[in-house]
């Protein structure tokens, strides 16, 4: 029989728990200090920065072309989208946005949307694995690899492509790329559907996703949410539609929106967006015109190797473009595209030399992760994992 003074002797103070920085669920290293009362999270301090790699500092000493490998590694789940976003920013500053060949624009759309599908599937499957659904993970990875092999065939790298160039893309599509793409699309779509069938009526899954980690629309906007996380709050904001760039106005696709802003909503939006991206891919594969894949501008594009090795003109042009970099007129711009996590912005300040004075990336998931505290306070500790997973916090992009 418990007496009152026994009760008084029970420990009643809250407990501090470290989640991360090395924690199975903290993909992309982040550390969360949880103050818990029993199972309930009283307070949380989200500490990022364990993957701060000095992106901006590195960019300030690299030429505009040398920056592509760095942007690859920002959101390393969908590097192509970063490539495209960065290229568009520099082209805006150069004032050559309208002169990019149409075929190059289509190729950018194709590789970008392939990356988007990979991004969403990876995010969803990773958080499913953390919920114990290992099968879904294996299927998603299979789908992703099927796309990666295509991209590898295109540019030689599975993950960090550095495929896009200022003024176009580095190489034309391989001969039977589009045919392969078509079959891969079918494969990916079927896998995606399987995953949905697998989990969406699963009780455990629903219990841990539905109504968990919800955030109100006002908060989401105030926190600067964009992309799937914002659309999961019922705001149909998609840069591809609202500020259409490249050739996105030529495709028929929908902007999926869910309400509630909880984990399930984010999951549904991502899965549906993958489908929409596949639709875009199908249309693009049909529409894509023939033609050059890079702008005809000798001050921006390297001359053909034959000229480099056999004529002094080509040699000098190659030499100066490599050593001095592409001379971007002094000025500054903020260019924005729709990346896997939302609005990926590049704020570039040029001082007229071949290297940027500042190259700032607007990381979508940085602002999303900032809201994590509000999402988990009051929930159970276990709900931490699916909530964090559904935000798709990518270390390279969040910490840069």
């Amino acid at each position: 029989m418990i007496t009152t003074d026994d009760v008084e002797q029970l420990p009643t103070d809250t407990m501090l728990v470290n989640m991360g920085p090395s924690h199975p669920a903290m993909h992309g290293t982040v550390k969360i200090m949880l103050e818990i009362d029993g199972e309930v999270v009283k307070n949380a301090d989200v500490q990022i920065g364990y993957l701060h790699r000095g992106f901006e500092k590195e960019c300030e000493r690299a030429t505009y072309t040398q920056i592509f490998p760095y942007v690859d590694r920002l959101n390393y789940v969908s590097p192509m989208l970063n490539n495209v976003g960065y290229a568009l920013a520099v082209e805006k500053l150069l004032g050559i946005t309208d002169r990019i060949p149409t075929r190059a624009e289509y190729i950018r759309v194709i590789v970008g949307e392939m990356a988007r599908v990979c991004d969403h599937l990876t995010c969803v499957s990773a958080s499913l694995m953390e919920l114990g659904g290992f099968t879904a993970f294996l299927w998603a990875i299979k789908a992703r690899d099927s796309f990666w092999e295509l991209l590898e065939e295109l540019c030689g790298a599975r993950l960090t492509h550095s495929y896009v160039r200022i003024g176009g893309v580095s190489a034309d599509l391989t001969p039977n790329f589009l045919d392969k793409l078509e079959s891969r699309i079918r494969l990916v779509r079927s896998l995606r559907d399987d995953i949905r069938k697998l989990v969406e009526r699963n009780r455990i899954f629903l219990d841990r996703m539905e109504g968990i980690g919800a955030i109100s629309t006002q908060d989401a906007i105030s926190y600067g949410f964009t992309g799937p996380c914002l659309r999961a709050c019922g705001v149909a904001y998609d840069v591809r539609k609202d500020h259409t760039y490249s050739v996105y106005d030529r495709f028929d696709f929908d902007v999926p929106v869910a309400d509630g802003g909880d984990n399930l909503a984010r999951y549904l939006v991502r899965m549906e967006e993958a489908e929409q991206s596949l639709r875009i891919l199908e249309q693009a594969a049909v529409q894509i015109p023939s033609g050059p894949v890079v702008i005809d501008e000798p001050t921006i594009v390297l001359p053909p190797k034959r000229e480099v090795y056999n004529s002094i003109e080509g040699m000098i042009a190659h030499f100066k473009l490599i050593i001095d970099g592409i001379r971007v007129p002094a000025g500054e711009t903020y260019s924005y595209t729709e990346a896997g996590n939302g609005e990926l912005g590049f704020y570039i300040v040029s001082d007229g030399t071949g290297r940027p004075h500042k190259c700032r990336v607007r990381p979508p998931c940085f602002y999303i992760t900032a809201a994590l505290r509000d999402m988990v306070v009051g929930e159970n500790v276990a709900d931490m994992v699916p909530t964090f997973g559904s935000l798709n916090m990518v270390g390279g992009e969040c910490d840069r």
Binding site: P21, H52, E58, T122, I141, G395
Partner: protein, 198 residues
């Protein structure tokens, strides 16, 4: 001390070889996943490149249950003490693979925040270059480690029993490791204990 690559004399070499054989086929990985390479690590664990074929199948997320530490991705100065602690918590014998060029040398991040190679913090057995390395390359590195285990050349395999000295032949300047003790840090290098950085 015994010559490079030979087992300690007082352990019957056949028994030692049997032990090594057993260990190399049941490596329990602790994936210290920090960055881009994690994507490729997923693929390595995924169905196509199935690392399970080599007995390194199951990721253990507790250092106490793992004997292979895979440093997957960039190690920043802020992350380094964490890596160190995870390493210290692993039971011996233990092996370390630096997965990707960032973990090997810092890669093309030579700046104020990135540690120039995980071996600044802990000893490394196998370096897998590449940014990120292809899965085939990772499997190759794993097999290299298995050969190393079989040959009893792991960086601290010698510390089983209080026998002498092993040196890691990969890099000339890697230090002589006396049975586990030089892994201890001098006080000024010890990580802050106030929990802020960890």
């Amino acid at each position: 001390m015994t010559a490079q690559g030979q087992p300690p004399t007082f352990v019957p070499s056949s028994l030692q070889a049997a032990l090594n054989w057993a260990q190399k086929w049941s490596l329990f990985t602790y994936p210290f996943v920090t960055a881009c390479c994690g994507m490729e690590y997923m693929s390595v664990a995924g169905p196509r490149y199935d690392i399970a074929r080599f007995g390194a199948e199951f990721p253990r997320f507790s250092p106490r249950q793992a004997d292979l530490l895979m440093i997957v991705g960039t190690i920043t100065e802020r992350q380094a003490p964490v890596l160190r602690r995870v390493y210290d918590q692993m039971a011996e014998p233990k092996w370390v693979i630096a997965f990707g060029v960032c973990a090997c040398t810092g890669g093309f991040y030579q700046n104020y925040t990135v540690t120039p190679g995980a071996d600044q913090v802990i000893p490394v057995d196998v370096y897998i270059p590449g940014c990120p390395p292809r899965p085939e390359q990772v499997l190759d590195g794993l097999m290299a480690l298995q050969r190393r285990i079989q040959d009893h050349r792991g960086h601290n395999q010698r510390s089983i029993g209080n026998t002498a000295v092993a040196s890691v032949p990969d890099r000339k300047h890697l230090p002589v490791v006396k049975d586990g003790t030089s892994m201890m840090l001098s006080p000024e290098n010890r990580m802050p204990r106030n929990g802020r950085v960890l």
